[in-house]
Symmetry: C2
Subunit: 345 residues, 2 copies
Amino acid sequence: MKTIVIVGSGMMGSALAFPARENGHRVRLVGTVLDRDIIETARRTNRHPKFDRDFPSGVEFYQFEELKQALEGASFVICGVSSFGVDWFGDAVLPQIPNEVPILSVTKGLQDLPDGTLLCYPDLWQAKLDKLGKSNELNAIGGPCTSYELVAHDQSLVAFCGRNLQTLAMMKAAMTTSYYHIMVTQDVIGIESAVALKNGYALGIALTIGENIRRSGNENEIHYNSQAAVFLQATREMDKLVAMQGGTANSFYTGIGDLYVTVYGGRTRKVGILLGEGLSIDEALERLQGVTLESLVVAGRVARALKKRAARGELNLADFPLLMHVDEIITDRKPVNIPWESFAK
Amino acid sequence: MKTIVIVGSGMMGSALAFPARENGHRVRLVGTVLDRDIIETARRTNRHPKFDRDFPSGVEFYQFEELKQALEGASFVICGVSSFGVDWFGDAVLPQIPNEVPILSVTKGLQDLPDGTLLCYPDLWQAKLDKLGKSNELNAIGGPCTSYELVAHDQSLVAFCGRNLQTLAMMKAAMTTSYYHIMVTQDVIGIESAVALKNGYALGIALTIGENIRRSGNENEIHYNSQAAVFLQATREMDKLVAMQGGTANSFYTGIGDLYVTVYGGRTRKVGILLGEGLSIDEALERLQGVTLESLVVAGRVARALKKRAARGELNLADFPLLMHVDEIITDRKPVNIPWESFAK
């Protein structure tokens, strides 16, 4: 039996308690400072307020002040904070994790440097660990898996990535269930890039749904040719970008699976549809107020990085007309005007 | 103004009359021997019986006996027969097409030879042309485009493939509209393989929809993790297969777009859902009687070819667990049992 400590009781962190606990491990779910109510509710009802079924019995719930106790005897720590909590995790949690305990992060995203380098979060945390003189192994989860479907025991396929294949095998053995299937790979930058890149592209595909609603005046007449056309172009651009980041083909495929699930997965889709229907980005965000829009942030960062690299002649922005258009919409506040003919070049 | 002759007035052949005629060309739609009623209806109502809107005015309709007149002055001929009409087209139509007139085929499929070679239809027709001592250029259309959405002017992106870039440019100029966007490529085998290969994979993805319906007892609770997992695996297998056929990455992307639209596009989806719900292939076909199941035929052919190549040691069937399972279901009548863990290997 392992002791698996999950830090961050948002939907994805909490969902991972299901396979972990169902496999008979000790599971400690620790809320962040923003998760106080979730942990209180979970203690009272054994259910996450956003889920429609109970946690498997025996999951232990901790408030953030109790992190130290929660970490006692940990086999590994799962980081389930949102991408807005990445620095916080590095500053408030990493220093407390005992040196020998490996980490598995489900936080998705990329951060761009002034020179156009796109770093994944394990890279950022590695820098923090180096400063702390610590040697925890950093691993990450990527791939097509929405939390509520994982909770529903829908069949899911994800990738665990990290440097050490033995550690990955240990984590895979601990987390694999009849419905949660895990590939392992050492291609950390590839997986993390692929699953972060898909955000802007999912928005791009959703634009076509909104455009069709606007054109037909009918929410039910959903057409797929236009979605498929943008999906095709997204595939082409993502393959280039993953390779550019140094990733493998398998990581690109994982990103494509993630793109597929994200087109249907809620917030990004909703923003894209509203934009396609003719709202400006500001109007769309106003309409959807309160939703976290990590996907828009990531798309903007990737576009900013590509522009810098293009300025140095390292790539041609004309190879990325879809991402550039998504960036125009969300960064420059331009109206939707999908550059169809540029996809046929 | 060009004269564009479409042979085969099924849904896709007929749909191509829309961009062609809207661009001001003379368009002659010629029914096959099975299309007599469609042509009669179209003459009377200017509408295809399966479409919900009229043909653009001025499309001319011909019965098959009038093929010779229809071909007079043709700039190019579009072959719109189903894959079951491939031999018929070669025997009954090819000999009548004047030697200098190029052909553009929208028929999708592959045919396997005893040695496991997978030929595309332009290859088959080339052999017929060689026998006839004719030199018509053979081109083909692939990519994500369903006929009824093309008719609805949904934005669509397809690839025209052929040997001669000048001919492709002529056809592209003739057919491009504000909603029909055309890539051109010389990678005929890649495009034709990619768009044929997607059939079995679309069935595989649809299986998960049926499985979820069976499991949840609820047709509305459609989950996407499992669809995305199979989509991921399909991407991986299709990339390998397209490359094995000698195709390019761009053709693979086109196949992925086609896979996306096919998951939503009707017949293949329906069969997959019924199979996933627990029906045998025979029960599913009984339930859907009358539908043409080109996709099942193609998937069976590809599997048969791969097995022969594997027997010669040219490939490892373990790299294609999804296609092999689809083949088990449709060829060996086995029940659905998606090999999830083999996707995580």
